[in-house]
């Protein structure tokens, strides 16, 4: 009883409340807001430009909001913009990107999760060596491996096809994804694995019935990582596909940087936004998981 009274009498508790508008705080928030404007500016400019008509763009100010909102540039970018002789817009590139993305995700994550599982619970002689090579491989410039892969794909008859590009994404996604899954599976208690072994479960049974259901969060992280990575790829798309199978980023670049015809900046910006839409939606919808994915990517090697 006496104790509590002395405690309550000993003055206010907890940290001293800070003034919200101290000079340091104004400086801090001022800086952050200014920097935020720099980061937001390109997105804003793209949106307003894509909603203006060409006459308004020629006369006016890139930062000004559109006086007359028009969705015509978006329609044109999606369905009519020309690359070379094809004038069916970005919709074709979008379709190609989707057809590249889905099998690439399934294959790369499937392979990498099995790798990670084997590397953490079924180590064999040399497994760590292969893993080390894989991680070092993540740092080798892609340019060094581009041409040998052209030869491999040609031998397999996959050069220029979507299947070939899927294979390339699986190969180059493997180091980081394998690392991700290996670290995750290694954190699953060994006892669980041993118990399953005693009960007679084999390699695949443990993988599908124990590991897979436990690893769902890391699968989501891997999917986020791969969707943005594969969607944003330009280099592999431009080298391993042909115009009919170009992914969206390559087609976008061809539309905007084509030398023929009058430049239609509003259509270009609508096309750019359309291409950026998928990763942006993933980013804003996934929040913390995206950060977790890139943090895992950051510690590669």
């Amino acid at each position: 009883m006496a104790d509590t009274t002395t405690n309550t009498l000993s003055g206010p508790r907890g940290p001293k409340p800070k003034k919200t508008f101290s000079r340091a705080n104004i400086f801090l928030y001022g800086t952050l807001i200014m920097v935020s404007l720099y980061y937001l500016l390109p997105l804003y400019v793209m949106v307003v430009t894509s909603l203006k008509g060409m006459p308004e763009i020629r006369m006016g100010n890139v930062f000004g909001p559109p006086m007359e909102v028009t969705f015509q540039p978006w329609v044109k970018a999606w369905a009519e913009a020309c690359t070379g002789i094809n004038c069916d817009g970005l919709s074709r590139g979008f379709g190609n990107s989707v057809r590249i993305l889905i099998p690439s995700i399934l294959l790369s994550i499937g392979v990498a999760s099995i790798n990670g599982y084997a590397l953490s619970h079924w180590k064999f002689k040399g497994s760590e060596t292969f893993f080390t090579i894989l991680i070092i491989g993540a740092f080798i410039p892609y340019q060094t491996m581009l041409y040998p892969i052209v030869i491999l794909l040609r031998e397999m008859g996959l050069m220029g096809s979507i299947g070939g590009l899927v294979l390339v994404h699986t190969i180059f996604g493997m180091p980081i994804l394998t690392l991700l899954f290996r670290n995750y599976f290694a954190s699953i208690p060994e006892e669980l694995f041993k118990a399953a072994r005693v009960d007679g479960a084999g390699f695949w049974q443990i993988y599908f019935q124990i590991m897979l259901p436990m690893a769902l969060p890391i699968f989501v992280v891997a999917i986020i990582l791969q969707v943005t990575g594969i969607w944003n790829d330009f280099l592999f798309g431009v080298i391993y596909t042909k115009p009919a199978t170009y992914p969206m980023t390559v087609q976008l670049n061809n539309i905007v940087n084509s030398v023929q015809g009058v430049k239609e900046y509003n259509v270009n910006m609508a096309a750019t936004l359309l291409t950026g839409m998928v990763p942006l939606i993933i980013y804003f919808a996934s929040g913390k998981l995206f950060v977790r994915g890139i943090a895992a990517g950051a510690v590669k090697g």
Partner: protein, 305 residues
């Protein structure tokens, strides 16, 4: 009733080592093939063929170091290397400074922290092609930033880093920083969060100011985070390709060429494979030069697992 037995694969009396863990080995075939055929084999193949006179198709006509002599005698390659040097050193320093400063600001227990973080990081989700095209438009001399400032009354304002050969690399830098600083900020923020609250208390007791605490105490403590960031930034700089293609196309003239673009132009456009192989081998060398000191710092002493 406790489970006490070892998994059978640890039992010493198995018939053959080769068949031990057979299923794991079969399941690892894609990984083994990727590591050996693509990463080791592909890299070795390119290095070996950089000593040949391959043009349209790879062939084993040995020419010694001819390709390298021609490479270092080529203006285009020298320009590419210079550009990468300027871009690289600026990007390295500015990304670290901006990334750390933003992380430090966000770590001051501010409100709306996650909103700010979301804004700083969103460009990282975008493709370099999207980034390049967006900045190409903003920096457009006729309609973009330059014309807007002139419209405000400053008629002689010049800011045209897309069409001016001397400043084009800074146009790329603005776009590159816009896209890349968010990632470094995130890594730095994670590093700052890992620092013990007691360090701050001790600094306050000793009467050291906030900025000084960061410079004298916190930054030295975050050495591993800085090294990771450096490696990430450096490997990103060497890969610089998409941004240049989208934003400037290497122009005006050759003034914004970079090595990665040189390699691809010679391999796939100019039908001069040997030159492309030699240039990509040089890129590999530069990565090795960066990677070895880092691996030594990171794993020095203990073995890399």
């Amino acid at each position: 009733m406790t489970v006490a037995s070892d998994p059978p694969e640890h039992a010493p009396k198995r018939p053959s080592r080769l068949f031990k863990n057979l299923m794991a080995k079969i399941a690892s075939i894609p990984m083994i093939l990727t590591a050996l055929v693509v990463f080791v084999g592909g890299t070795a193949w390119t290095v070996v063929y950089s000593f040949t006179g391959s043009r349209m198709l790879p062939k084993t006509k040995w020419v010694g170091f001819d390709q390298y002599e021609r490479l270092w005698g080529s203006d285009r390659w020298i320009i590419s290397i210079k550009n990468l040097g300027i871009y690289g050193s600026c990007a390295m320093i500015l990304t670290l400074v901006i990334g750390f400063s933003l992380a430090a600001c966000l770590d001051r227990k501010i409100r709306f922290e996650s909103a700010f973080r979301t804004i700083f990081l969103y460009p990282f989700a975008l493709s370099f092609v999207v980034t390049g095209l967006a900045w190409q438009w903003i920096l457009n001399p006729e309609f973009g930033l330059q014309s807007v400032v002139r419209g405000w009354g400053w008629e002689s304002f010049v800011f045209n880093p897309i069409n001016d050969p001397d400043t084009v690399i800074f146009g790329l830098l603005i776009a590159g920083l816009w896209q890349g600083t968010g990632l470094i900020m995130c890594i730095m923020l994670a590093g700052l969060r890992g620092i013990d609250e007691d360090i701050w208390k001790a600094a306050r007791v000793d009467g050291i100011g906030t900025v000084k605490t960061y410079v004298v105490v916190i930054i030295p403590m975050m050495r591993p985070v800085f090294i990771t960031s450096l490696v990430l930034i450096a490997s990103g700089i060497i890969k610089l390709y998409d941004l240049v293609v989208a934003q400037t196309g290497g122009g005006p003239g050759l003034s914004s060429e970079v090595p990665a673009k040189y390699v691809i132009e010679f391999m796939f456009r100019a039908q001069n494979l040997g030159q492309g192989f030699a240039a990509s081998t040089m890129m590999l060398c530069s990565v090795v030069i960066i990677l070895i000191p880092w691996a030594y710092l990171e794993f020095g002493g203990r073995k890399n697992g």
